[in-house]
Subunit: 299 residues, 2 copies
């Protein structure tokens, strides 16, 4: 059983975690969150997104958040960018890097961003061009890699081909997202086997949702395949706010605790993360989904 | 990746799950729970324990529960038995089988049942003898197989030797319990490798606690080692009732959903289990810890 010695955790809480909040955090709260995460050792944090506030009101004023955060040397502060206009906002906000988004499911692509997979590559072309000119690294999200709410199972061959194209187009890393939390370890193994036949393992990250509690089992499968970059959200942010306990993103605190128990170095301060997760959960008027925080609270 | 075709799920909710409740369920509620579980297809259910009600008040009147449950043909209704006196109660209650308890940690044994591991084998000798005379199968629980709250890590060699002795003494099955939820997949692999060097795989079950969210990852590891019997508790009963969200036993609904997604047959009715888990959680004035139930509730 071979596992990586080090894992880089990409913190997506302030963006992926908060973007669907009905009662969004204020700019000040979002700034505090990002600063606390960076102080706990997070080396990559997705701060916000440059999308229309009409579509994603919780991410409005991401430029202001970027302006107000402390910038720690070595920390990557990234933003999701859907199109050229978003890229301009991101560049003006002096982001460290951008992330772009492609779906592995045609139906999901059409319903979510109203264009085909092919059209979304087209739409992103000027984004890539201008980002490269500005020397800004681009991270690619590939969603629905294990299943789609409309189509069901997604072919690992399609995931591999789209991963290859994202890398070919210039993404320094592709994050494979199980958007609806349906992946199991054998599916993860299949997808990674196919992806690694065309993309280097060092260019692949995994992004699991913990809808059914499978996320850590899937992380462990990915680690055994050599993956050493894992996305997660502090306090498990991103769960559906209308169903208490229904979870979305893999919780950073539980991921880090798991990696530590596996003897894998993350460079992260678990106590600092738990405090941050508890703090942000309080701001949102709920409790953290972190199991390690609940367990420690009763010790 | 080789997985078993079928898994037997041993439902421990009515005993392991409920035994620490401060406000115990009534006999009627416990009877309803056991009946609902059996109707959902559970083939092995731990109904109660024959211990002093002074020590475990929530398990008082287990004899009454046994008297009032429907007995479905083919369903195993078991009871935990700590000593000869407990066995007598169990036999009078016409249990299908009994379970006995040994710890893999000396310190845990002394603090929990006030005797050494060796003494606990001595204490169980007459229990085994009389159970065999009555043709009652005996299941052995071995606790703390991955770690102990007092000693830390437990040697897999010790776990293997105690498993061997339990089988030699006459247990038809040994359930390896990660009592405090600290096992990780590599630890599970180590323990099982050593256990299987002296005990047949068909005689081994696993019993994981989900304290830190590792239980399904550990189940998957055990399945890959050929284990095909897994303990779990409906609604994740057995969490600490004083810390909301702090979990104890692996949740049956999530286990069954995971096994189904892996294409493994359990013979269980997930809808019936979810309804039962929601019902018993209501009786206890809390919400079910089942992630699949929370996810389905928002669909």
């Amino acid at each position: 059983m071979h596992l990586p010695n080090d894992v880089r955790v990409v913190e997506v809480g302030p963006r992926d975690g908060l973007q669907n909040e009905k009662d969004p955090l204020s700019v000040e709260q979002r700034v505090q969150l990002v600063n606390a995460l960076a102080r706990a050792g997070v080396s990559s944090v997705e701060v916000g997104s440059f999308v229309s506030p009409k579509w994603v009101p919780a991410m409005a004023a991401s430029d202001e958040v970027f302006r107000k955060i402390e910038r720690r040397p070595g920390t990557v502060y990234s933003a999701l960018v859907p199109n050229e206009r978003g890229l301009e906002g991101a560049l003006e906000s002096n982001v460290s890097e951008i992330a772009v988004f492609i779906s592995a499911s045609e139906s999901f692509s059409k319903r979510n961003i109203n264009c085909s997979i092919e059209e979304s590559f087209e739409r992103l072309k000027p984004v890539f061009d201008k980002a490269f000119k500005a020397s800004i690294p681009v991270r690619g999200y590939l969603s629905c890699v294990a299943g789609c709410p409309y189509e069901g199972a997604i072919s690992p061959a399609v995931v591999a081909e789209l991963s290859r194209r994202l890398v070919e187009t210039g993404c320094y890393e592709v994050s494979l997202g199980d958007t609806i939390g349906v992946a199991t370890p054998p599916v993860v193994a299949d997808v990674l086997d196919q992806v690694f036949s065309v993309v280097k393992v060092s260019k692949v990250a995994v992004h699991f949702h913990d809808t059914y509690g499978y996320a850590l089992a899937n992380v462990f499968q990915a680690l055994q395949h050599g993956v050493s970059v894992v996305d997660s959200a502090i306090a498990g942010l991103g769960g559906c706010p209308y169903a208490r306990g229904a979870s979305g993103n893999l919780c950073t605190e539980d991921l880090v605790h798991f990696l530590q128990d596996l003897g894998i170095n993350t460079g992260l301060d678990l106590d600092g993360l738990m405090a941050t997760g508890n703090w942000v959960s309080e701001q949102l008027g709920r409790r953290s989904l972190a199991k390690v925080s609940a367990a420690r609270a009763r010790e």
